[in-house]
Symmetry: C2
Subunit: 430 residues, 2 copies
């Protein structure tokens, strides 16, 4: 065995504690697989005194993680502070500037600053590893960037946020509404007090931006991702989805299209038999469609101390072994310059649910607007009759262009007999 | 870009043709990800004249693959001849002896000679890569050996043979018997004319032996794998499985046990909600239970030209990039010497189906034998009544030791009222 790989750990929250715990519990396994011991020698965090349930004895302490990153006695810097800017960003920049390999679990940082950081890492000739940034314990970065590297990937789609998947699962199983389930999830610790980054789709969009960059071999482009969250998903639409043979999931999808790459996060109706439909609770999953390998699905735990630590340590073992992969899978000169396709150009099928006054002529008005907009219907569902009252009407379209759908929807929403903002959920093949 | 990686391709069957096709179709993608072009420069096969649907123009031809393996102009040897012995074995040995990296899709070779070949590769300091040997297009070798490398794995289980999974799926969906579905699968080309290596579980056992070696960090031990195939699975047992909330799957399972590692391939009853139960048709899937990452599932196409070529090329890209991993995940000195636990020591629940004469006292006799053998029952199922006729009786046991089960079964089979060899299927949690 050669000299231990000395790790500087910046951040001692849930993930940092998990990394310390794993490297201690599985020291022998890690040393065998890494070809040398992997040992945390220094840590940096805000509050020195706090009890974190792991011993910090014998570890050098830094109040400033950027100082830790620049310390010559440290071989690799693990950044598990979090946040796209501020101290996390400064730490990763300092480590690269000091010529040190970096392992980060920070999806926000990579989504927002990943293109610049990757360029800096390439100039410095150091690895910037981030298996933990997407789908936690599932080795999806490695699978897409190395395991499927021979393929032209046409589409990646995934359940990338466990909080949203948990909320949607409970809504379906118990027939409850979003706000109600969110409040309970917050009480149970499954959702943050400030849940926006999860339920508004931002966290999933960070991860999708990274996945898309790897799948299509181009620098990350977070600003081009279309993002919608799950706040508007209702128990009624989940029930209708079941009737139609679908499940509603928040998916991140990136797809090779005519004209470039489409990337979007929004609630989707997926067929009950598709691999992603069956992934429930806090689990994450990713499907990659490959020209030679076919459809490959990976499923597992997307968050938590253990799964995230597993991913961080896999990166450390790669670094200890000298296994190097460029950030986006290829050197900057060999990356694709495929354009990002705007959401208005998206083509797909749509589920529409209207609340309309039950009186003659309403359906004729709605279907006339759709016809005039070039939107063709696959099916319509109207349940029960309550003359003069509000009733739900469900329409499923054939493949339609998003821009046409939006125009038709604006006209439909303006009809007197349409009582609420129409509910719209895109239908995805898997 | 540096000099191309020159590949010598030994074997031009389905897989060899797929490798040629992929490296041509995706040459640009592969070059970007490999950091240099990856080009087949020489091929070896038996019949030079045969039309393989791919052009061999400009490629050097070798009648003897071992001569190709030793040729100094070749950088890497891809062995896709197949078979544990003979020419495939000689080719891989020749390549290692010549100091060349080897990529092989040959599970039989690795299962039978893998320990010796890995030792030879380590002495020669060359990679011996085999992503294609297990589960085709699913990057499961990479996931277990690198992506989950920080974990102590307690269990790997998988659907590792697409032919068996296809047959079992059709038997369940159409209520048909094994022999009937096998004959049809042979006509459709989904099963070999000589189907034994698939339906008797040998192919799955080869793959399980490899997976177990990686999961537990020890040299491959094929001879210690307990192997049963699917010939005795009946439509009646598949129907009873459904009644009880199970699916019958041929699984390969390796598990860390008291005393060592248990490795076995046999038909299993798995709960309908478990990830492997839902994998149907020719698809393969592998579940790994990890101490930190939790349960990770990978699913995809386990065979065929495209998926297998995808795996071979992933290995070639690793080699082009200089990414090296020891064969069993760690250098020989750091491998585990965990013992293999014999099947007689297996502990689990059992499904038993007896055909008994419907007369008073039979069930009392059967249950007395089980009680005397220390086998405790979870449930019993007897459908319909036909006094004096043969009726099926289904028994499900609690956790039982295999040796106790076998003794009790021998006594039960010897009862006058028991008309056929009892059907026994082990129950697996997932």
């Amino acid at each position: 065995m050669t000299r231990p790989l000395g790790v500087g750990l910046a951040g001692l929250g849930t993930v940092g504690g998990g990394v310390l715990a794993l490297l201690r519990a599985n020291a022998e396994i890690v040393a065998a697989r890494a070809g040398r011991p992997v040992v945390v020698t220094a840590v940096a965090a805000r509050e020195r005194g706090r009890d974190r349930g792991v011993s910090l004895e014998g570890l050098r302490w830094f109040d400033d993680p950027a100082a830790l990153a620049a310390d010559p006695a440290i071989d690799v810097v693990v950044e598990v502070i979090g946040g796209a800017d501020g101290v996390a960003h400064a730490t990763v920049q300092a480590a690269i500037a000091a010529g040190k390999p970096v392992v980060t679990a920070n999806k926000a940082l990579l989504a927002v600053h990943g293109a610049a950081l990757a360029a800096a890492a390439e100039r410095a000739g150091v690895p910037l590893a981030f298996e933990a940034a997407v789908a936690g314990g599932i080795p999806v970065i490695k699978a897409v960037r190395e395991g499927l590297a021979g393929n032209r990937i046409s589409r990646v789609a995934g359940i990338l946020n466990g909080t949203c998947n948990y909320i949607l699962t409970v809504m379906r199983e118990r027939g409850r509404e979003f706000a109600d389930v969110l409040a309970e999830a917050q009480k149970l610790g499954y959702a943050e007090a400030d849940p926006g980054i999860d339920v508004d789709g931002i966290d999933a969009a960070h991860k999708l931006a990274i996945l898309a960059a790897l799948a299509f071999g181009r620098p990350v482009a977070f600003e081009a991702v279309h993002v919608e969250g799950i706040r508007n998903v209702s128990a009624l639409d989940i029930a209708f989805a079941g009737t139609l043979g679908y499940r509603i999931k928040l998916l991140g999808i990136a797809r090779r299209q005519e004209g470039g790459i489409e990337a979007r996060v929004h609630p989707c109706m997926v067929p009950e038999a598709s691999p992603l439909a069956r992934v429930d609770g806090v689990f994450n999953a990713v499907v990659a469609e490959c020209d030679f390998a076919g459809q490959v699905t990976l499923e597992g735990r997307g968050a938590g101390a253990g799964p995230t630590a597993s991913a961080v340590v896999a990166d450390l073992i790669d670094i200890a072994r000298g296994r190097f992969t460029p950030v986006w899978g290829a050197q900057s000169g060999a990356l694709s310059d495929a354009a990002s396709v705007p959401m208005a150009a998206h083509v797909g099928a749509y589920y529409l649910r209207l609340m309309v006054v039950d009186r003659p002529g309403v359906i004729a008005d709605v279907t006339a607007i759709l016809r005039d907009g070039g939107v063709s219907l696959e099916s319509m569902l109207q349940r029960g009759r309550s003359p003069g009252e509000a009733v739900p009407v469900v329409l499923v379209t054939h493949e339609t262009r998003e821009s046409a759908m939006r125009e038709a929807l604006a006209r439909i929403a303006a009809l007197d007999a349409v009582l609420e903002e129409p509910a719209v959920i895109r239908i995805e093949p898997a």
